[in-house]
Subunit: 198 residues, 4 copies
DNA sequence: AATGAATGAGTCTTCATTCAT
DNA sequence: AATGAATGAAGACTCATTCAT
C-alpha cells in the first residue's frame, strides 16, 4: 500500500493518521471502528481504503512512524555530546518530553504490547531503544563512570521508569513535563549508579 | 451476579476464570470471544452467563481478585519486619515473584490500563499498591535512612521497573524470577537512594 | 399436562398463574421469561415445568380460565332477569366490572389477539361472548323492543365500546368502574336503538 | 438515524418498511426477526442497520408514519364540510376505510398498545385522534345538535366500535369496507345521540 | 416436588471490507 | 479520489427447555 500521492493526497493521509491516532488512544483500537474514523472526518468509507489496505495496516504504520520519530528526537538530543553519562541523561529527558508531547502514542504503545498481532512489531521497536541506550551505558561502564552492571537491564529499567512516571504524572495529572523529566533522571541516575552529581 | 453456588458450581466458576485468564492473556481481551472460552471448556454457551453477567464483568472480576492477591502476597512478605528499607526490598521482591508466577495477569493488567472501560478500576488498584509502598518510604525518610524525595514518585518508579523487567526477562526470556528480583531490587535500592548495603 | 395435584400443589399452580399473569400484563408475554416468573416467586425452574409443559401452555391456560370466568360472571348477572334489553344492559355492566377488576387479563386478551399462536383461541372465546349477547339482542328485536339490525354487529360494537372505555378510563385514569359502566351502557343503549329509558 | 439518502436508498428504506410491516402484522413483532426481514428481501443483514438503528426504531417509525397518515386522511375527508355532525360521520367513515386499507397497521396498533415500550407512543397518537373528534362533538353539542354528554367518552366509544368492527368484518371475513363503515356510522350516530336522520 | 446447572439454537447488532457508480 | 450502499461473518447475550441429583 504505497501509492504515489498528490500533495492533497498526502494531506488526507496525514489527516487520517492524526485522527485515528487520537481515536485509538481515546477509546482503544478495537472500540474505534473504521466508520468512526471516516465519520469523524466527514468523508466516505472509500477514502480510508484508498490510503490504507486495512485498519491493522494503519495501526502498524502509526506505530512504526512514531517509534522512528521518538528515536530521532533522542538522537538529536545527544548528538554532539561526548560524555556518555550526559548522553544517557539527555536521552532520558528527550524520551520523557517526547512521550509527554505524544501522550496518545504512549497509550497506543501500551496497547500494542498486549495484542499478539502487534506484539512483535512493538518488541522490535523497543529493542532498538534499548540497544541505543545500551551503547552509552556500556561506554560509561568501560570508562569507569558507572559500576559494572548488565547494561541491558539498566536500559530496560530506565524505560520502565520513564513510561510509568510519564503515564501517571503527565497523562493523569497534567504535571509539567520538565519536572517529570527531572524526577525520572534523578531516579535513574542513582539507579544506574552515578555517584557524582553532574 | 453473585449467586449462591454449590461446590460443583464454584468449581465451574473457577474453571471459567482460569481458562479465560489464559485466553485473554494469550490473544487479548477483544480477540477472545465468549465462544472461545466455552468451546475451550467443552460446555454450552449458557454456562458462561450462568456464572457471569457479561464478558466485561468476568474481566473486572479477574482484575479485582488478582490485585487483591498480589497485595496479600506483598503484605505477608513484609509482616514482621521492622526496618522500613528492608520492607521495601521485600515488597519489591514479593511483587516481582508474584508477577513472575502470574504472567497472564501481568498482561491483563497492561491491557486493562489501555481501555477506558477498565482504566479506572485499574488505577484504583495501582493506587493501593503505590500508597502501600509510600508508607514505608515515608517512614524510611523520616528515620533518615533515605534522602528526602517525593515518596509517591519513588513508589511509581519502583513499579515501573518491576513491570518492565519482569515483562522482558521473565515473559520473553524465561529468566529465573529470583535473579530478576535481584536486578529490580538492586536498581531500585540505588534509585531511591539507599547508600549502605543491607 | 393435567397431573393429579395435592392441595399444596394446587396452591403452587395458582401462585404461578397469578404471578405470571401479572408479569405478562406488565411487561408483555415475550418480555417475561420463565426465569422472571420463577425468580419472582423464589423457586427453582423445575417447579415451572412440573406444573406446566411450556410457557405457551401456561398462557393459553390463563386465557381459557379467564374467558370462562368472565362469561360466568355475566351469566350470573343476567340469570333471573326476563326483559332481554335489561339482560343486555346487565351483561354489559357485568362485563365492564369484570374487566375493571381484571385489568391484567384485559391486557393479555389484547396481546393474544395480536399473535398468530394465540389468535384462534382468542377468537373462539370472543365468539362465545358475541353469541351470548346476540341471543338477547335477537329476542329484543323479535319482541319489537329494538329496531331490526344485525344483532352480531351490535354485539361486536358493544364489546368494542366496553374494551375501549375500560382501557382508557380504568387502566390509565383509575376512574370508578361503576361510572364507566354507566358510560358504556348509555352509549350502547342508544347505539343499539333503545328509545325508551328503562 | 436520519441519514441523507439517495433515491435508491429511499427506495430500499421504503421496501424494508413495507416488508417489515407485513411480517410484523402476520407473525407479530417478536416472532419476526431482523433476519426474517432481510432474508425475505434477499439482502444482507447490514442493510437493515444501514437504514434503521434497531428493530425497535423501525417499529416506532412505522407507528408514527401510520398514525400521521390516518389522521391526514380523516382531515382531508372533513375539510370543507360545515356541519359538525356530518364531519363526525365523514371522519368515522374515513377512519374505517383507512383501517380497511391498512389492515396490517391496525394489527400493529393493537400490538403496540400491549407492550410497555410502545405504549406511550401509541397513547399519544390515539389522544390526537380523540381530541380531533372531540372538537367536532363539542361543536355539535354547543349547536344543540347532540345531547350534552362527555365528548371525550363519545370519541373513545367511536374509536372502539370502529376498531372492533373493522377487525372482525374486514380482517376475518373480508366484508366490503363501505358496508362496515355504514354499520359503524349507524351505531355511533345513535350512540352519540343523533336523532334526526341526515 | 424441587433445585441448580447446563444446553444450544436463536436474537439483535457490529464492523471490516468490498463494490458500483 | 471519493461516495453511499451492501455484504456477511462474527460477536455478545437470551431463554425455553431439559437433566442430574
Amino acid at each position: 500500500m504505497s501509492r504515489q500521492l498528490t500533495p492533497r493526497g498526502k494531506q488526507r493521509r496525514a489527516q487520517l493518521i492524526a485522527f485515528a491516532t487520537h481515536e485509538f488512544a481515546e477509546k482503544g483500537y478495537h472500540l474505534t471502528s473504521v466508520a468512526d474514523i471516516v465519520d469523524g472526518l466527514g468523508v466516505g468509507k472509500g477514502v480510508f481504503y484508498w490510503y490504507f489496505s486495512s485498519k491493522e495496516e494503519l495501526f502498524v504504520e502509526i506505530m512504526r512512524t512514531s517509534q522512528r520519530g521518538m528515536r530521532r528526537r533522542q538522537q538529536e538530543a545527544i548528538s554532539a555530546v561526548d560524555d556518555p553519562v550526559k548522553r544517557i541523561e539527555l536521552g532520558i529527558r528527550a524520551g520523557v518530553l517526547w512521550l509527554a508531547e505524544h501522550n496518545d502514542l504512549r497509550k497506543l504503545f501500551e496497547f500494542a504490547r498486549t495484542e499478539a498481532t502487534f506484539r512483535d512489531a512493538m518488541r522490535k521497536g523497543q529493542e532498538v531503544l534499548v540497544s541505543d541506550a545500551q551503547i552509552h551505558l556500556e561506554e560509561a561502564i568501560q570508562l569507569g563512570h558507572l559500576p559494572d552492571r548488565d547494561p541491558e537491564a539498566l536500559a530496560l529499567a530506565i524505560i520502565g521508569v520513564s513510561n510509568q512516571l510519564t503515564n501517571v504524572y503527565i497523562d493523569s495529572r497534567g504535571e509539567d513535563p520538565e519536572v517529570v523529566a527531572d524526577l525520572v533522571v534523578s531516579f535513574c541516575r542513582d539507579g544506574i549508579g552515578v555517584t557524582v552529581r553532574g
